[in-house]
């Protein structure tokens, strides 16, 4: 039971608890908070995996931008506690069964296919950051540029969607 294992289980537990509470919470704000917890925990896990840059980005972008956006929208729409309707029959017990099966399958598959995969030597942290930048601007430069276009499009789309049509 090394220290890293302890940290891992602590963070993993935190993440799982957060995820579960995301479901259990009735109010979207609480769900959002739980999700933030999950993300922070994941960032910690990334640190544990030696992916410092990704961890930082995870918190900055997910925690600091995306989730803020969610909270912002929830506050803007003044969303209340979610009401209980059961129009969809499928989203009942059968759905539950399916979901459980799916999760099980996924985990089992990945685990089976990666059995024997063992953590290789940690890539040095700073090396990882500069390495990422190298890959990003050499091997993946076209996807990278494309993402910039994607973001541009997204910005315009959001603007168009959210603005009130003038009368």
């Amino acid at each position: 039971m090394t220290a890293s294992l302890v940290v891992f289980f602590a963070l993993a537990g935190l993440a799982v608890i957060g995820a579960v509470s995301l479901i259990l919470q009735k109010h979207p704000i609480h769900s959002a908070l739980s999700l933030i917890v999950v993300m922070v925990a994941l960032a910690g896990l990334y640190l544990l995996l030696g992916a410092e840059f990704v961890a930082a980005v995870q918190i900055i972008v997910y925690g600091g931008a995306i989730m803020v956006l969610f909270v912002f929208v929830i506050m803007l729409l003044n969303a209340g506690v979610e009401e209980h309707t059961n129009i969809s029959k499928l989203a009942g017990p059968p759905g539950l069964l399916l979901v459980v099966a799916l999760a099980g399958f996924i985990t089992a598959t990945i685990v089976r296919t990666t059995s024997g995969v063992q953590g290789s030597s940690q890539t040095g942290a700073m090396a990882s950051t500069s390495g990422i930048s190298n890959m990003l601007f050499r091997d993946f430069v076209y996807p990278f540029e494309l993402t910039s276009f994607l973001i541009l499009v997204a910005v315009m789309g959001a603007t168009v969607l959210a603005q009130r049509e003038k009368h």
């Binding site: 980005v57 969610f70 929208v73 979610e82």
Partner: protein, 100 residues
């Protein structure tokens, strides 16, 4: 040294929870959040593998996923605002006319 499989299992669990929330929550915003949760689970798997193989591709992919998630959040929340404005509800079961 934490075995990679632990991470994978964790990511599988998180993904499953995400799917569960995706199916069983009624508030559209929460559903959207559950999508984010699934994405996060996948990211975790990516990073775990990148560490396992000692390659950085996984981390780069994670970055791309994050970017895409950001864009998706922007547009998706815009759509949600529109829905709320036109339907006065955030319950997806009340939004079943397939058009705004």
């Amino acid at each position: 040294m934490v075995p990679t499989n632990y991470y994978i299992i964790l990511s599988g669990i998180l993904f499953g929870i995400g799917v569960f929330a995706f199916v069983f929550k009624r508030n559209i915003i929460t559903i959207f959040m559950s999508i984010e949760l699934m994405l996060n689970a996948v990211n975790l798997a990516f990073v775990a593998f990148s560490q396992a193989w000692g390659k950085l591709d996984g981390q780069v992919f994670v970055l791309f996923v994050i970017v895409v998630a950001a864009a998706e959040a922007a547009v998706g929340l815009g759509i949600i605002i529109l829905i709320a404005r036109n339907r006065q509800t955030l319950n997806v079961e009340r939004v079943d006319l397939m058009k705004l």
